[in-house]
């Protein structure tokens, strides 16, 4: 697009924007319009969800569920599941019988579920014969063993991410799902988030609203926090800790920081967002370089890196995309989000409904008024009043023009994990396809686990395309 044409377009767009601003200035009309836009947006998203499911209708029968691992993350999942109809909780297993297990059983009792409780998952699988599905939220290094055993016992499995702390373990999980024919959903819950699905299916794929995406980015900033403690009166005996792979209660409560048990913040936090890079770009990475270290916390108790910065390179069908990702655990400012930048616009998206906006590249992109009218986006918010000076003809076209900000009209206020769990249980009932089956979870694990390798190697590491295929599973 020539500079001259770009300038002329700018004038036209300002007129259109003025019109939209005028509409927004009429409060009553604006309120009705917003309600209509939201309704239309919701309808489109549901339609998109149903279209992507494309599965035969089945019997929405009650699903008998067991929980394996009911610590902090298991508790989050349980509270989401309690809002999903048609689930009957039958059994709960957790090695911390004095606290986690007791708490989960008591909680379920409040909702009318009388469950059998177990310390050892093998005893649970031996004794519980009426189960349909299990939800696993144990530490990462247990995922492979737990998942494979449950699949082989004939259960469908929802397993928290990271799928495994090793690719060997993740491959065994994929193979077990293939061998048994049972479902294995990995807990990358953004894959079922209506805002993410709408953004991917409608804004990016259908409208190509960003144009040619050239860069992506993401971050998860978390405030410094003390190590997790535990109630002394409920401590586990040492022999039980050892039996399940932990040296101490401190290590049990803070396992995410330990090599051989978890993957550190880049895996706990970055995994969700690096998974979005691949999903939205439609490609797995071809290389990664990274820098990281335990710069703030005690290295003796924080074996994994508290700070990591990584740069990926993707070969997408439309060209190269470079993506940077940062996770730090010493300052929570600016929170967590993903960002995609194309020649037509920028997308900033987060699991938090408060964050989610598109910024139109005024000099390149055509007007987005139609997407506003259709309810995909809110009306534009002018970010910089100086932009009004454009109408005076004094603009130097070499300057960058502040983009207008459009919010994604679709709002989502359920618990974050609920849609992903609903998708899983609907798949168990034969009503939907999994949004994050084992193969997708495996691809994500390959991309994420390589970051820690790159930090250690201090050089760019390259992915072979076949690495993402879970070949060679035992």
């Amino acid at each position: 697009m020539s500079e001259e044409k770009g300038n002329a377009d700018s004038k036209k767009r300002i007129d259109r924007r003025d019109f939209l601003q005028g509409l927004a200035g009429i409060p009553v009309l604006g309120a009705f319009a917003l309600a209509a836009l939201k309704q239309e947006s919701y309808r489109r998203t549901r339609k998109a969800q149903l279209a992507s499911a494309a599965v035969p209708q089945g019997d929405a029968a009650e699903v008998n569920v067991a929980l394996l691992g009911v610590g902090a993350q298991g508790d989050v999942l349980l509270n989401s599941m309690l809002k999903i109809p048609g689930l009957r909780f039958k059994a709960v297993c957790d090695v911390w019988t004095e606290y986690n297990l007791r708490r989960a059983a008591n909680l379920l009792k409040k909702y009318g579920h009388e469950v059998n409780t177990y310390e050892d998952y093998r005893e649970m699988l031996d004794k519980e014969k009426g189960l349909d599905a299990v939800v696993i939220a144990t530490p990462d290094f247990w995922h492979a063993e737990h998942t494979v055993a449950c699949l082989q016992a004939g259960l469908h499995v929802y397993c928290e991410k990271e799928m495994s702390n090793t690719l060997e373990g993740a491959r065994r999980m994929v193979q077990a799902a293939r061998d048994t024919g049972k479902l294995l959903q990995i807990g990358h819950q953004r894959r079922s988030n209506p805002r993410y699905i709408f953004t991917h299916d409608v804004l990016l794929r259908e409208l190509n609203i960003l144009g040619r995406v050239v860069t992506a980015g993401g971050q998860w900033n978390r405030s410094a926090a003390p190590d997790l403690g535990w109630p002394k009166k409920y401590e586990m005996p040492v022999d039980r800790l050892k039996k399940y792979g932990f040296d101490s209660m401190h290590q049990f409560c803070n396992w995410r920081w330990y090599k051989n048990l978890g993957g550190g913040p880049i895996v706990d936090l970055g995994s969700h967002q690096i998974d979005i890079f691949s999903w939205f770009l439609g490609a797995n990475p071809k290389s990664v370089m990274a820098s990281g270290g335990t710069d703030y916390y005690d290295k003796a108790t924080h074996e994994w890196y508290d700070t990591v910065m990584a740069i990926y390179e993707y070969d997408t069908p439309r060209g190269t995309v470079r993506a940077h990702y940062k996770t730090q655990t010493t300052n929570g400012s600016l929170g967590y989000f993903e960002q995609f930048m194309g020649d037509q616009g920028t997308l900033v998206l987060s699991e938090s409904s408060q964050i989610g906006a598109l910024y139109r590249e005024k000099t390149q992109a055509g007007p987005w008024d139609e997407w506003v009218r259709k309810g995909y986006l809110t009306e534009p918010k002018i970010l910089e009043s100086k932009a009004e000076d454009l109408t005076q003809g004094a603009l130097d076209v070499r300057e960058t023009i502040s983009p207008d900000e459009h919010k994604i009209a679709l709002q989502f206020f359920d618990p974050y994990h609920k849609p992903h769990l609903e998708n899983y249980f609907n798949a168990v009932r034969g009503l939907e396809k999994l949004n994050c089956p084992a193969e997708i979870g495996y691809e994500s694990a390959v991309a994420v686990l390589k970051v820690n390798e790159a930090v250690e190697a201090k050089q760019t590491l390259y992915f072979k395309p076949e690495e993402f295929l879970a070949q060679g599973a035992a």
Partner: protein, 223 residues
Amino acid sequence: MLYRRIAIVLVMVALLMGVMPVQGQDLKPIPIKLPKAMFVGTPQNINVPNLEKPLGKPREPFLAPAGVVNVALNKPVNSSDDAPIIGELEMVTDGDKEATDGSYVELGPFVQHVTIDLKAKHTIYAIVLWHFHKQPSAYNDVVVQACDDPAFKTNVQTIFNNDHDNSAKLGGGKDKNYIETAEGKLIDARGVQGRYVRCYSNGNSNNDLNHYIEVEVYGLPVK
């Protein structure tokens, strides 16, 4: 002369509002000891209307007459839920305000309350309430009352109420919703008098459950 009149009017307004103690009393910051700040784990989707804006800085000291202390410390607690999911009711007044496992009592879903027996009638200047500050969350329908009747049937004084739609059926309130932090929620009790303090909630922005780490009641015995 004019300044004197203005000063008298201001003092009278302050007295009527209950924010100024009896003339001549020495005011001191109440001695609140804060726990470690947290906010860890998987974030939750918070959608709460009428939400108070965060201060963005430490809270100002709250002034009360000299000698005011936490009179709830180690006092007995009962609850609408006598079989908590985890933890014990004694944790509400045990002085431990940390947001870690073992520091809180988790009550069942929907409307629940804890009631603290101060063992004698007290003049109450402030109540500081920690539900659960490990993750950002807002508790629904927070209602705080003082009373001399352990059954809370007669002469109930409501000190705080953010149940805007009266969903807890205790009478609607106009106080703001708020996000839990390590600072706790400081409620100006304006010198109400009572022996029992009751705190209601109706689940929170993350789930249906009700948590109490600590409730502090800053006051003086009524002589």
